[in-house]
Symmetry: C2
Subunit: 401 residues, 2 copies
C-alpha cells in the first residue's frame, strides 16, 4: 500500500505522534525488508471490562492490520503485579497472580471482537521479565535517571505533595520500555496518559542499539456526558460486550458535537468518508440521522449487520418513533430565530383554527420534534430536515431557506 | 561478661549509636538465647588498601570478638557492581567481576591482621543478591519510598543540583539493608557516612519481621594532618600493611591533640586506661612520651611486641635521639613564660661563660629540646619533663614549679 495512504489512516484521530518524516522512514524500512510493521500494545490486566474508550487503540491497530501489519498484544501480567501508577495519586495494590490471570483471560475474549486474530500475537510479559536477573535489572535501571522518572506528571505531583511513591513503582516505565526491546517493536500505541512510558521505550530501545519505535498517542474518549473520560466508574461508558440494542441506544445519547469524534475514534470508517459526513453536518443535515448511522455502524462492528439493523428497528419502536411519510409536507423557514414564522406556515395548512390551538397542542404534549416532545413552543430550535409531528398523523419537514 | 562492661567497651570512640536501652535489651536477648551477637560489617571492595581509618570499624569488631561475639564480614561483591554512591557527586563506574574478586582477595589478606579469624565468617553478598528474582526485588523495593531515599544527603544534593542519579543507585541502600535481613544481623557497624544505609537495614529488617539490628557509627579518623579524613589519595594515611618502622614513625607525626583520639579509635586499650592516659597528659606529662607509647602500641597490634620495640629503637637512633642520663640535672622553672629564667639557671651550672654564649650555641644548632633542634632560644616552650641537650653531653630536665 502507498505510504501516504498508510499514514493517512494511521493518523486518523491520533492526538500526538512521532514526526511524519520518521514514520515515513520506518515504513520504507519495513517495506524494504519486506515485512509487516510490528505493532505493540500493552494491556494492563487490572480493568478487564473493555469499553469504547479502551477500544480506541484496538481499533487503530485493526485499521493497521487491515493494511497488512501485525500486532503483538502484551498482557502485562508481570507489570500488573506492580500496577501502573500512571495518573494514580497513590501506590496501587499489587494484583495476585490469580487475579492477573483471570483478568487476562477476560481480556482475550474481548479483544478479538476487534482485532484480526490471524495477525495478532498475544504475549505475557512475565515471559521475559520474570527471568531477568538482578544484574540485568541493574543494567536496565542504570540507563535511566531518577530525575527523568520524577518528571512524569503523576510522580512529580505526588513527590511535590509529599505523597509516598514506592521505589518499585519506578520499575513500571522501565519494564514497559524493556518490553519494546524484547519485541523489537516498530510502533507502540497508547492513550495520551501513556506518553511518558511509551517514549521511554524509544530511549531504552536506542540504549539497546535498536531503531526506536514510532509512537502514536490516541486521545482519551469522552463518555456519554461528552465531558469526562469514558469510565466504568463514572457510568458514562459503552461496553463492547453490551448487547446490540443497549449499544445502539447508548450511542444515540451522545451529544451532536461528539459525532465526528466517535466516527474517528470508534469506527474504521475511512478518513475521506468522515470528511464527507462532516460536510453533511455543516450543511445543515439533521444530526439525528447521522447519529443513527453512527450507532448502526458501531453496533455492526461489535455484533453484525443483521443485529445492527434490528437494533435500529428496536430503537425506533421502543422510542415510538413515527416515520414521516415519503411525501411529507415541507415548510420553508426564512428566519431560523423566528418560531412564529413556523406557526404561521403550519396555520396555512388549514388543519388548525388558530395559532392559539397549535400552541395548546404543544402544551398538551401532542407535538414532537425529531421524536422529542416539546411542551413550550418557544423552546423549539429550527433545524434543516427536522420533522415536526402534531398528533398522530400530521408531519412537517423543515427546510431552511 | 557483664552487660555494662560490654557496653562500655562497645561504645568507646563511637560517634552515634542506637539508644542504650535498646542495646541492653539486645544484649539480654542474645544472652538468654545463649549465643554470641552476630556483628555485621559490609566492605565495599573498591578500595583494597586498608589504612588505620578503615581499620577503626575492624578494631571495634575485634574488641567485641574478644568479648566472645562473632563477626560476619560481607564482601560486597554484588553491590560493588553498582558502587555505593555515598558521598560521591556522580554515578560511579561499575566494577567488573574480575576487579571485584581481585579487590576482595586483597581485602581478605588484610582484615585478618585485625580480626579473630576463628570468630569471623566471610560472605559474599552475591550469594543471596544474585539469585533474587525480579519479583523479590519488586517486593523489596516496594518497602521503601523514593522520598525516603532522596533524603540521603548525597542524593539530595545531586538531585537538587540537577546532577544525574541513575535509578540503579537506589538499589544500593536496599541491597545493603537486605544483607542484614539475610544474615539476621544483631548489630551493624559503619562509618558515619554509612548512617543512612545502615539505618535502612533496621527498617527493612522490621518489614521482614525481624528484631532490628543495633547500629554503631564510628567517626571518620583524621589523617596525619589532623584535619582531613585519612585517605590514600590525600597522602595523610598510615596503611596497616606498612612495615613496623614506617608505621611507628608516621604515628609519631600526628599532632598532640590527636593522641587520645588515636588511642580510642586505633587501639584496643581499655577505656579506663585511656582515661588514665588523658589524666597524665592533662597533668603536664610530655606528650612525646605518650605518643611513643601509642606508636609502640599500634605497631605491636599490626606487627609484634618485638618489632614494635625494634621500631622504637630505630626511631630513636634514626632521629639521633640521645637519652638523658638517669641522674640528669633538673632545673626548676617558676614562670613557664620566661625563657630567660631557664638561661639564668643553666648559667648557674657553671659550664658556660655567659647567657650570650648559650644563645650562640642555640644559633649554631647545638641545642635540642626533646630531640628537636631549636635555633632561636625565644622559640623554646617550657614544658615539664622536657629534656634540654646542649652539645653532646650536657642534659637538663625541666621541672615546672
Amino acid at each position: 500500500m502507498d505510504i501516504q495512504e498508510t499514514i493517512k489512516i494511521m493518523l486518523k484521530g491520533v492526538n500526538e505522534h512521532t514526526q511524519i518524516s520518521d514514520i515515513e522512514e520506518k515504513l520504507k524500512k519495513v517495506s524494504e525488508e519486506n515485512r509487516p510493521l510490528r505493532i505493540k500494545l500493552g494491556l494492563d490486566p487490572s480493568a478487564p471490562d473493555i469499553h469504547l474508550g479502551h477500544a480506541v487503540v484496538l481499533r487503530k491497530i485493526k485499521q493497521l492490520q487491515d493494511m497488512g501489519h501485525e500486532a503483538i498484544i502484551i498482557i502485562g501480567d508481570f507489570t500488573g503485579m506492580i500496577g501502573d501508577p500512571t495518573g494514580k495519586s497513590k501506590t496501587r495494590k499489587q494484583l495476585t497472580r490469580q487475579e492477573v490471570e483471570e483478568n487476562a483471560s477476560t481480556y482475550k475474549q474481548q479483544i478479538f471482537k476487534i482485532l484480526d486474530e490471524s495477525k495478532t500475537t498475544l504475549r505475557y510479559n512475565s515471559e521475559w521479565l520474570s527471568p531477568l536477573t538482578f544484574k540485568e535489572i541493574i543494567e536496565l535501571s542504570a540507563k535511566c535517571t531518577v530525575a527523568r522518572i520524577l518528571e512524569r506528571d503523576d510522580f512529580k505531583k505526588r513527590y511535590e505533595a509529599g505523597q509516598p511513591i514506592s521505589v518499585h513503582e519506578f520499575f513500571y516505565p522501565l519494564m514497559q520500555a524493556y518490553d519494546s526491546v524484547v519485541l523489537k517493536a516498530d510502533i507502540e500505541l497508547g492513550g495520551t496518559d501513556q506518553t511518558f512510558n511509551i517514549l521511554m521505550g524509544r530511549n531504552i530501545q536506542r540504549d539497546y542499539g535498536q531503531d526506536p519505535q514510532i509512537t502514536l498517542f490516541m486521545p482519551l474518549l469522552e463518555g456519554l456526558d461528552g465531558v469526562e473520560k469514558m469510565s466504568k466508574s463514572l457510568g458514562n461508558y459503552i461496553g463492547i460486550n453490551e448487547d446490540a440494542n443497549t449499544m445502539y441506544e447508548k450511542i444515540m445519547k451522545i451529544q451532536d458535537e461528539m459525532i465526528i469524534r466517535y466516527y474517528e475514534l470508534c469506527t474504521d470508517v475511512h478518513p475521506d468518508q468522515i470528511t464527507e459526513i462532516q460536510r453533511r453536518l455543516s450543511s445543515g443535515e439533521n444530526p439525528k440521522n447521522v447519529k443513527m448511522e453512527l450507532a448502526k455502524e458501531i453496533t455492526r462492528l461489535y455484533h453484525s449487520e443483521e443485529l445492527a439493523n434490528k437494533a435500529e428497528e428496536h430503537f425506533k419502536s421502543a422510542f415510538q418513533m413515527q416515520v414521516a411519510p415519503e411525501d411529507v409536507a415541507e415548510i420553508v423557514i426564512e428566519d431560523a430565530n423566528n418560531v412564529n414564522e413556523l406557526l404561521d406556515k403550519i396555520l396555512l395548512s388549514g388543519k388548525y383554527a388558530s395559532k392559539g390551538e397549535i400552541k395548546r397542542l404543544f402544551l398538551q404534549g401532542a407535538v414532537k420534534v425529531d421524536n422529542e416532545k416539546i411542551i413550550d413552543f418557544r423552546d423549539l430550535k429550527l433545524k434543516n430536515d427536522s420533522i415536526i409531528q402534531i398528533g398522530k398523523g400530521n408531519f412537517y419537514k423543515i427546510k431552511m431557506k
